[in-house]
């Protein structure tokens, strides 16, 4: 037994002695692997789509799909294995992933993506979030003091995030900085052009009133002037209760609400019950890229979401 113990000790000692050697070895491998594929891990599919626009040659993996609640994700083995290999981790931030990202980071033991000085990028760090709260209490439900983290339906914010993400890519992979710069320019001009078009469509939606599920589309409603008059959730993060739905039905009957809006991952039962009783249509919007057949990238996601809302609103006005 003593022998085994000694071996362990010796081994520990060797690790310490060779520590510098290992580090220089890693640095060497990194520089010699400049042509190896850059690995990007994203928490949500919208950031995988954005990364694809900005770094089309990278190997990109999204931890969640548009059919999954990004608040509740299992720190499962496959995600740990993917994060272990990541050069860059891109997440929404503002505490959206607080229930699983720290566990992944701890288990993945990847020093490169430990903090935002290195290969960790939080989109919310680079834009102004809505609904910041100074005093948060659990009795208020699942709210985030750092503001609403579902940022991706705001065209100007996406542009600001794209710029910051490009800077991060250049910081980590400076050999390809010219390519990243070019991709950003290409993306910016396309995005600006598309934004003008979306702005025009959105302006026609101004004044539309909806009942929605959670604050998933807070930025979309802000951008288009849609008013979310009620929430299917009694409190953020808590599922609809029958009492709460009954209250919503009263509200639905007494005002000019156009539709009930839910996201692709959200349970349809509460919305369907309310729709049946109140004769309101239910619009299932893709939460993100991949949330329905039409939403294949950020551009088609915006196109699709705005057209789904416009259809209902013009039908209502007729």
């Amino acid at each position: 037994m003593l022998l085994l113990y000694n071996t362990l000790c010796l081994w520990g000692l060797t690790v310490r002695i060779n520590f510098k050697l290992i580090i220089s070895g890693v640095l060497f491998t990194l520089s010699s692997n400049a042509f190896a594929q850059f690995n990007i891990f994203t928490c949500e599919p919208e950031y995988a789509a954005l990364a694809k626009e900005l770094a089309p040659d990278a190997r990109i993996y999204s931890a969640t799909t548009a059919m999954q609640d990004p608040h509740q994700v299992q720190a499962r083995p496959s995600l740990i294995a993917k994060m272990r290999q990541a050069d860059l981790v891109v997440c929404a931030g503002a505490e959206l992933e607080v229930g699983w990202l720290p566990m992944l980071q701890m288990k993945a033991a990847n020093a490169k993506v430990r903090n935002t000085d290195l290969g960790l990028f939080f989109a919310a760090d680079h834009v102004e979030t809505l609904d910041k709260m100074s005093n948060v209490d659990r009795s208020m439900g699942d709210v985030h003091s750092q503001g609403n983290p579902h940022l991706h339906f705001s065209p100007p914010r996406i542009l600001a995030i794209a710029k910051a993400l490009t800077e991060k890519l250049i910081q980590l992979d400076s050999d390809n900085s010219r390519d990243y710069q070019q991709q950003l320019e290409r993306f910016s001009s396309r995005w600006t052009l598309a934004s003008a078009k979306w702005q025009e469509t959105a302006s026609k939606l101004s004044g539309m009133k909806v009942i929605a599920y959670h604050s998933s589309f807070r930025y979309l409603f802000d951008f288009s002037g849609i008013e979310q008059v009620a929430d299917l959730e009694p409190k953020p993060g808590l599922p609809p209760t029958s009492g709460h739905l009954a209250g919503l039905l009263k509200q639905a009957n007494n005002s000019d609400i156009t539709a009930i809006v839910i996201a692709s991952y959200q349970d349809k039962r509460g919305a369907n019950w309310l729709a049946e009783k109140s004769n309101l249509p239910v619009i299932v919007l893709p939460l993100s890229v991949g949330g329905n057949e039409q939403s294949n990238d950020l551009f088609s996601l915006y196109d699709n979401v705005l057209s789904l809302l416009s259809q209902e609103y013009s039908a209502k006005k007729l």
Partner: protein, 417 residues
């Protein structure tokens, strides 16, 4: 003793608990007003209370009202290299209160090439459930395998080195060294010369996804316990009685009831959610198998063999094995965000030292639990468990009903798979 036991001195436990809480109140309020950041530790409290209709074998929960693992945890990144966590646990049952330190460890966060080193007091990474905090369990008690062989869950003072391979399939390897105090074999005379570094473990886990909806993990562990073998028992009946009383107290002391030199374990977990979306419905299936062998010192083993042969000649019963084993299978389904139900079945097959020979014991348990979750942070659970046993002191069939709440306040750490 490894744990800081203050029982049976109830007063001192209460005083120290009160002191600890008073000291942490400013920290708690600070944590609420500003975000937990690198310099601001996460503070979390788990409240666990229960009512249990009967005593159960080897559990930490006793008949009547009591407090389960009520824990207070502090954790933070210490700097860019180290993470630290402190967890103290308060428990109260049978009119006894105890406070012990379950975790006090540091862990590296920035070693290259997927290596992690953890030192201090922490939960061993063997098996599936052992490294999980009991407040995340879907049943009120750990399976009999854990209660019998690991004292509920095995935490100890030691060192761990682990490595995660840079592969798309998750592959973790690790080794640990512990003092092993809580896994020592019974020492009736207190004269035994135990190794101060008694436990060595090695484990590996692999895992991955099957499509978008399913995930799995498979693990193998080995634990070598230098102090796990039993010495020959004294023949004096009176002393024997005393020893049994000592063992009873062990039940609440987080020490293993059965130890051996070599422990082998295998575990498997499978999780499923529609579309991989865990918000509404999800299913968790898990199974573990433990085998503890070489529980006798060689000279005792020979005697045992002789006895065994002797017995076989004269009777057909008393066929004791030379290893302990236990296993369980469990399924838990969350059918809505507010409700989940679980079913677990487990068996323990152990050998109890009785003078010069070993008597075979068998424990079978079936548990059905139903839990209501008002939110992600509050759970009220009702559990029915049925146990039937052979060879234990309370040899009878038992139905036990437990009503339990588990709630968390403060920062809520992320759950493991």
């Amino acid at each position: 003793m490894n744990n800081f036991h203050f029982f049976p001195n109830r007063l001192s436990a209460k005083v120290s608990a009160a002191l600890a809480i008073t000291a942490l109140v400013p920290m708690l309020s600070q944590a609420q007003n500003s975000m937990p950041t690198l310099s601001n530790p996460n503070v979390s409290v788990i409240l666990d209370g229960y009512y249990q209709s009967e005593d159960r074998l080897m559990t930490e929960r006793a008949e009547g009202f009591g407090l389960g693992e009520t824990e207070l945890a502090l954790s933070a990144n210490i700097d860019d290299m180290f993470y630290g966590k402190f967890t103290s646990v308060f428990e109260s049952h049978d009119g006894e209160s105890e406070v012990h330190l379950e975790e006090a460890f540091i862990q590296t966060m920035a070693l290259p090439n997927g290596f992690t080193v953890r030192g201090g007091r922490f939960l061993s990474d063997i098996g599936y459930l052992n490294n999980q905090h009991s407040h995340t369990d879907s049943f009120t008690s750990r399976p009999s395998a854990y209660r019998a062989f690991l004292g509920g869950h095995y935490f100890d003072d030691g060192l761990r080195v682990s490595y995660i391979a840079p592969t798309d399939t998750y592959w973790l390897m690790g080794a640990e060294v512990f003092s092993g105090d809580s896994l020592r074999a019974a020492d009736e005379h207190g004269e035994r010369d135990f190794d101060s570094t008694g436990v060595y473990t090695a484990f590996t886990k692999i895992g991955g996804d099957i499509g978008v909806e399913s995930s799995w993990q498979l693990g193998f562990s080995y634990l070598r316990n230098e102090n796990g073998q039993l010495t020959a028992e004294d023949h004096d009946e009176d002393e024997h009685e005393e020893e049994e009383h000592a063992e009873d107290e062990h039940d609440h002391a987080h020490s293993a009831s059965y130890t051996g030199k070599n422990t082998y374990a295998a575990d498997f977990v499978f999780k499923w959610a529609p579309n991989g979306n865990y918000k509404y419905q999800h299913l968790t299936l898990s199974a573990e198998y433990f085998r503890v062998s070489d529980f006798m010192l060689p000279e005792l083993h020979d005697e045992h063999e002789e006895e065994h042969e002797h017995e076989e000649e004269h009777h057909d019963e008393g066929h004791a094995k030379d290893y302990h084993e236990a296993w369980y299978v469990s399924g838990v389904y969350q059918f809505s965000p507010n409700w989940s139900a679980g079913l677990r079945y487990g068996e323990l097959d152990s050998q109890l030292q009785h003078e010069e020979h070993f008597d075979q014991q068998e424990l079978k348990e079936t548990e059905l639990s139903l839990a209501w979750h008002n939110s992600h942070f509050s759970t009220v659970r009702l559990e029915f468990s049925h146990q039937s046993n052979v060879g234990f002191e309370q040899a009878e069939n038992d139905n036990v009903i437990t009503l339990q709440y588990v709630m968390s306040l403060g920062a809520h750490g992320a759950h493991q798979f």
